[in-house]
């Protein structure tokens, strides 16, 4: 638990973690950003909060009001 660890233990833990992370494989941002953009575009059509729905199809719209008989 972090609260019970001494400064030395915390430093050693951070050091070990950094040593591991430096070796991680990475890809260029130009490639990964493009993939993020592509994913969004592919899924935008189903995103109702993005596109909106006509008021009458909105499941959260308050129902009720006047009924004319």
């Amino acid at each position: 638990m972090a609260r019970d660890m001494s400064d030395i233990d915390i430093l050693k833990m951070e050091l070990q973690q950094l040593q591991k992370e430096v070796k991680n494989e990475r890809e260029p941002v130009s490639k990964t950003a493009k993939e993020l953009v592509d994913w969004v575009e592919a899924n935008s059509a189903e995103d109702i909060l993005l596109k909106g729905v006509p008021e009458d199809k909105n499941p959260f719209k308050e129902k009720g009001g006047c009924i004319i008989t």
Binding site: Q17, L36, V40
Partner: protein, 390 residues
Amino acid sequence: MCDQTFLAITFGPCDNCSETKPLMNIYVKNEPINYCSLCVERMACQGLGPNETLATLKTESETLKTKLEEERAKLHDAELHQVAEKVEALGQFIIKTRRTLKGHGNKVLCMDWCKDKRRIVSSSQVRPFRWRRHEHAVTMPCTWVMACAYAPSGCAVACGGLDNKCSVYPLSLDKNENLAAKKKSVAMHTNYLSACSFTNSDMQILTSSGDGTCALWDVESGQLLQSFHGHSADVLCLDLAPSETGNTFVSGGCDKKANVWDMRSGQCIQSFESHESDINSVRYYPSGDAFASGSDDATCRLFDLRADREVSVYSKDSIIFGVSSVDFSLSGRLLFGGYNDYTINVWDVLKGTRVSILFGHENRVSTLRVSPDGTAFCSGSWDHTLRIWA
């Protein structure tokens, strides 16, 4: 009369070497001890190898951090908003409160959607706190709940907070049933529970705590399956990766770090330290390749997992209050942030700009979640209400 300050120094036999010297009165693991300064230094050096001192460890750490930043910078060959230049700009944004759920009687601290998309569980700072499910309020004898989560089946709810535990309550349609009696304590931390989430089934729960760790528990037996050490301060939030992308989760803490973990090995895979203050909320991008975070430094940030770096910051000079909670819309194009200045800001994730600012709450927005089908989102606030926006 002049002010005189007196410095009291204890003088006596050292607890360790027994020599009579000026003593330092310190606490180690809550026990008071009186060591002379030499013994204090010796104690601080225990655990170090030959040629290691606190200073050398720190220097090595700084060197590695610089190297890590260099490696990351080498691949920083583009900006997200540049790559997204050709994406159509968003039109006018019309979103408003469709329902206001009152009746909590106190600050709403957290909420979660059921997978059936219509039920919500929320908790507040009330004694005893209430669950809101359908329109039935179920009273359970648990105080100061800071985290709650719906089980994937919809048949149970997990919650916890200042009691340092995470407990699971089975839900039933019988309003009169005494649910408190059926409570099952699953997780035990040594400090407050800040967040909890079921994994893909009702059988396992992931928790994060003020004790600086996250943990994975078996619900049935209460057994600790895996613990995750790496944060150097309270862990405030967590989010599981979308199931298709494997067994990882991200956590954010008061040490300003966001860590990505492998659930099976307990290892921290990646760590991001660019926020300037506590990270209150983390949420995976729907594709699982990135995550967003919201912090007390008033910014939301997007971290790309494969590029291993922060790729976008969502902020404005006019926004100075911390972000308590973030979530993405279904496609990942929009990022909703609940802020301590009572507003909800809506950001265009790709272009980095703010699309809309939503008013309505009369106190801090403490929690915000998009519904599982993406048709609406719910915000909870210290103004005692929950609002559904669509």
